[in-house]
């Protein structure tokens, strides 16, 4: 089916794919940003043991952790416009990218909430009591004592989630978003140099995640001892 292997195409495709990194990173960054906010909101009822909301957030987490992200993508892309029709909102023309970002954001929110909950729980209760005992208010104790330490604990998990979500973005192609994988597949099909296109694609993912990993590792080392104070 394909043309004969020609290494020069690997280079050519690599260059052609470079600009698309931007779109992929945009999806990752938006998903992580939404994920952090959602994750925090979802973690709250768990941390403060709020009766009904706690259940709701558990179901949320189970759903997004327990079903394939591809299915979630389809559900949102095809299902959400139908639902919005019921309240007279026309979402049929919204760019697919919106749905992708929403899905990935909610998806990472589930993982982020687990990360936040575990990190906050890792700061021992005694330090919070000590903060109260020196006269701090709840929010002061949270911001000054819990958060910096939780942040340091969460960072390695956070790095993993970023890398995982980078790889997940390759599925956005299935609803027609021309991110890295989408672009590479198109190049491959048009030129019939499939292997070359996918080698370039793999190289790009590898380089991007390698760089991200390095940067996050540096941050981790700085935060290790002192938490947020070192930033």
């Amino acid at each position: 089916m394909g043309a004969t292997f020609d290494f020069s195409f690997v280079f050519q495709y690599f260059i052609k794919l470079l600009p698309t990194i931007q779109l992929t990173l945009l999806i990752v960054a938006s998903a992580i940003a939404i994920g952090l906010v959602v994750g925090f909101l979802v973690a709250l009822p768990q941390m403060y043991n709020i009766p009904v909301l706690r259940r709701v957030s558990q179901v949320y987490i189970s759903f997004f952790r327990g079903t394939p992200i591809l299915i979630q993508l389809f559900l949102f892309y095809y299902g959400l416009p139908e639902m919005l029709k019921l309240i007279a909102v026309d979402a049929a023309r919204w760019p697919a990218l919106y749905f992708v970002i929403l899905t990935y954001g909610l998806h990472s929110g589930a993982f982020m909430s687990e990360m936040i909950r575990a990190a906050v729980a890792s700061v021992d209760r005694g330090q919070v009591e000590a903060a109260y005992a020196v006269g701090m208010t709840g929010p002061q104790a949270f911001v000054r004592i819990v958060l910096p330490q939780a942040f340091a604990t969460a960072l390695p998990v956070f790095s993993n989630l970023i890398i995982a979500s980078l790889k997940d973005t390759s599925l956005a192609f299935s609803v027609g978003v021309m991110e890295l994988t989408g672009k590479a597949s198109t190049l491959a099909v048009v030129s019939r140099h499939l292997i070359e296109a996918y080698i370039s694609l793999a190289a790009i993912y590898f380089i991007v995640s390698f760089v991200l990993e390095r940067l996050l590792r540096l941050l981790e080392q700085r935060v290790q001892k002192r938490g947020l104070a070192s930033l």
């Binding site: 021992d124 005694g126 330090q127 009591e129 000590a130 903060a131 109260y132 005992a133 020196v134 006269g135 701090m136 208010t137 002061q140 000054r144 004592i145 910096p148 330490q149 340091a152 001892k225 002192r226 938490g227 104070a229």
Partner: protein, 250 residues
Amino acid sequence: MIALSGIKKSFGKNEVLSGIDLKVNRGEVVAILGPSGSGKTTLLRCINYLEKPDSGVISIGDFKLNCRQHGKKDVHALRQKSAMVFQQYNLFRHKTALENVMEGLVVVRKVSKAEARERSIALLEKVGLGAKLNAYPSELSGGQQQRVGIARALALNPEVILFDEPTSALDPELVGEVLSVIRQIAEEGITMIIVTHEMGFAQEVANHVVFMDGGVIVEEGEPKQLFRYPKEERTQQFLKRITPEAGYSI
């Protein structure tokens, strides 16, 4: 002066404090003794509202709080009147010794950083840690951590410092250094309530000893009196149990 009256506290059906009345005069050092589970820690924690009493009145200095009717602000105000030294030290682990002591001054008391720094350094020197200002808790021994904990409490210049078994998590060879710091600040006339199992220390440092059992104060009085001639049978048994070699000698 500190006055507790009618402090009650239950955890579920388990009544841990069954109406505690206690008066502590300014400058007094009160030692609280009693068997495990008698409610000593709970009482101490009620005084700074780490535990909310079910009922009773707490007054410290000119501030009075009725446990049945108060707002968040009152709790905040009450907590500013006292400081606490914990059994497990509970230092802020992401902060240096100096920062641990400064934290309350800067964040709660709104003292300028420069002044807080100066005062904190002086306090750390006083507890013998002038050379460890920039050490993190993980780099300090238990005894050193507890001395930072004491400096942190002193920094706030509270009406009373509450100690919950400040030496019981320490290796035996480190107990002395912490006790001597407490002894030193006791001599300066700082009001203290100390829960302790160190009988010799209680006898030496305290002006007043309180014996608790089953959520009530069974007996209280001057150390000499209470240790030598306990009136209540429960006190006698307790003292006999913790000092097995016939009788307590001074």
